[in-house]
Every structure is written in structure tokens, then in C-alpha cells.
Symmetry: C2
Subunit: 225 residues, 2 copies
């Protein structure tokens, strides 16, 4: 089928998911760093719709959208399955991955870090409500995938590092060890696993990027007032 390449950026934990999946499968790949302020013709050619990373290139094929890429990887390389075999458990992994992208990430990253007062309190409440659903999913388990890392672990794998960065920049605490003991524990353990740790982007890079976007959003919000 040809070589595997990942077009990615160290400022996006969506890209890290794809690297994790390939590493778990033992698939060799070349990482191509994309400058998101000056997008390459390669990225624009292979993801003309969204013009976003990550994109996986596999021979002459290109797939975009990180969760779609995870499914592609799992369908292509059958070793170390990411999704469970049982149709119902597969559907649960997909349901919670979608929930994590659409509800958890959005409730944490939208408005929260640059809101103030009552608006901020409400946003924190909503973010905690989303996290509590994930807490229920991991209770009593080592991984979301059960005994080993699975699709959903990779999908929510942005939390240990990404949520910490958001908390720091947004000056708030969300993933409280008392309120979310199981999610907190999973979070601590997950990024200590060597294979997971080695693909993580540098924390400072994420802090810088998120600080820049929060400053920009705060300035927009203050102009509106």
C-alpha cells in the first residue's frame, strides 16, 4: 500500500491521537510538521475541505478528521484492535468519542477561559457536568478500553495534557481529584505510559498557543462590552 505519513502540528492534540494509534499498531510513519500560519500545498491538496491537520497519507490515499483516521487505521491494520469486537461496545466507544469532541472539549474551550463572573461560573458548571459523564465511563476500569488502551482512550487522550493547559491559562480548576477520582487517576496514569508520553507535544508549546488565543478572545469580548 505504500508509505505512511502524518501531516500534523505540535500544537494540536488531535494529531497526537493519530500518532498514538500508529504506534499502538506498530506501523512506521514519517511525521511532517505543518506550519499552520502558512499552510503547505500538500495539506491544501489532501484536505481541501477543512484545510486542517491531522491528515494521514497512505500510499496515494489521504484521510482527514482524526476520529475518521482512527477508524481507517483500525480497519487497515488489524493487529492490536482499537475498537472492541462487540457491536454494542464499538458503538459505545464511538458515542463517547463523539461526546468528548463535541461536548467536553467545547464546554471547556469555548467561552470558559475568557469569560468572567457569573458567565464563567455557568461555563464551569457545564464543563463539570460533561466530565462527570466521562467519570462514569472510566469508573472501576484501568482504561476506557478495559484492560488495555482502546479507541476511546485515544479520543479522550487530549484531557491529561490539554485540560491541564486550559486550566492553567484560563485560571480555573476542573478535573478535581475529589470530584472525578477515576478520571483523574486515569489521566495521571495515561500520560506516564512510555508510548503515549513520547508522542505528546511539548507542554510549553500548547500553553503559548492557548494563551495567544485566549488573549485574542478576551480582547474581542472586552470590545463588545
Amino acid at each position: 500500500m505504500g508509505e505512511v505519513k502524518v501531516i500534523g502540528s505540535t500544537s494540536s492534540l488531535f494529531c497526537t491521537r493519530v500518532e498514538w494509534a500508529l504506534k499502538l499498531k506498530g506501523v512506521e510513519y514519517e511525521y511532517m510538521h505543518e506550519d499552520l500560519r502558512n499552510k503547505s500545498p500538500l495539506l491544501l491538496k489532501h484536505n481541501p475541505v477543512h484545510k486542517k491537520v491531522p491528515v494521514i497519507l497512505h500510499g496515494d490515499r489521504a484521510v482527514a478528521e482524526s476520529l475518521v483516521i482512527l477508524e481507517y487505521i483500525d480497519d487497515t491494520w488489524k493487529q492490536n484492535p482499537l475498537l472492541p469486537e462487540d457491536p454494542y461496545e464499538r458503538s459505545m466507544a464511538r458515542f463517547w468519542a463523539k461526546f468528548s469532541d463535541e461536548k467536553v472539549r467545547i464546554s471547556v474551550s469555548n467561552s470558559l477561559p475568557w469569560s468572567e463572573g457569573e458567565e464563567k461560573e455557568k461555563a464551569i458548571e457545564s464543563a463539570r457536568e460533561s466530565l462527570s459523564f466521562l467519570e462514569e465511563q472510566i469508573e472501576g476500569k484501568t482504561f476506557f478500553g478495559g484492560e488495555k488502551i482502546g479507541f476511546l482512550d485515544l479520543a479522550v487522550g487530549w484531557i491529561p495534557l490539554g485540560l491541564g493547559v486550559m486550566e492553567q491559562v484560563g485560571e480555573m480548576k476542573l478535573l478535581d481529584a475529589e470530584k472525578f477520582p477515576s478520571l483523574h487517576e486515569w489521566s495521571q496514569n495515561f500520560i506516564k505510559i512510555p508510548l503515549i508520553k513520547e508522542a505528546l507535544p511539548p507542554r510549553e508549546k500548547l500553553v503559548d498557543n492557548f494563551t495567544a488565543s485566549v488573549s485574542y478572545m478576551r480582547s474581542l469580548a472586552s470590545q463588545k462590552q
Copy 2:
């Protein structure tokens, strides 16, 4: 595994997708109509996260989110596969289904029907851009799935009826036969197929519902001015 039930509403074309998939598989099911203004304990029990239809019940299992349900149906009943076998083609069906839900639907339904003047022109432009990507996908084919109805046909299956209703209520034309000849043709043919047609909700019901939400959004927009 037990009986199959679909909790749905005639005002949601997301539910129709699920019925189409079951019909294509030849799976018998009971349809349970949900009153969305007065949600049932059954719905709240089985979709406590989103509290939305559709939900499929299969014995003691419950799955929510229409695209996740389609995957569940395809994983459970292997006859008449909805997704292609090839991993790349599977990924393309998933990519465009997500695109259709996130970009096309949102570009058509958000703001457009209740915006005016320049804002409306911009929204129409953006909706047409999204539709042009789908036009490229169906060019030269009978179905998005190729020679037979597949996953992506069901995912974009809201277009023939739903887009027409939005056009009527929002007083605009988007799916132009000249600009989008292949998508227009697919759209015309798709809802003539007996199996597809018999599960479609009554058009007037959709018009009434959409008219009510557009009136509400117009009144909110005029209060802001």
C-alpha cells in the same frame, strides 16, 4: 438478542436514517413516537446525555446518535452492508457523512432562514460551497454508495426533503438543478425509491416545525437590533 425498537419523531430526519437502515437490512422493528415537547421516561432513561431522538433499543441495549446507530446496525446485521468493505472507502463515507452533518446542515439551517440582506447572501454562498463538495462526490454515480444505497446515501438522505422544506420556509433556492446537476438528480431519484419513500415523515409536519423555529429565531434577531 431481542426485539428492535426505534424511539423517534416524525419531525426529525435523523430518525428516518435509522428506519431506512433497518429496512435495508430487512430487520423488523417497532416505531415508538416521541413527543419532543413532553419527553418520555423511556427516552430520558436511554439517552440521558443528549435527551434526543433517535435511540435504537435492541433487547436490553440502547444506542443513541444517528450515525453511531447506523454503524451499530451495520456491525450487527451483516446482510446488505451499508459501509463499503475497503478501509479507504469506508473512511470516505464516514468523512462525508460527518461533513454533511456538521457543515452542510449547519450552513443551511443556522442563521440562513432568518437572516436578511448581506448576511443572507453570505450564508447562501457558504451553503452552496458546502453543497458543491457533495456534488463532486455524487458526480457520475447513481448513489453515493455506487451502484446501491450505502451509508452516505442515508447520511445525506435528509437533503431531498429537508433542504426543500428549508428552502420553502427560508424563501431561498439552494439546490439548483443547473449548479448541482448530479446532486439534484440523486435527490429527485432517491426519494422515489419505495423503501425510502415509505419511511419519510409527512412534508407538512416538517414545514410546520421549521416555520415555528424560524419565526422564533426571527423574533429573537429583531429584538437584538
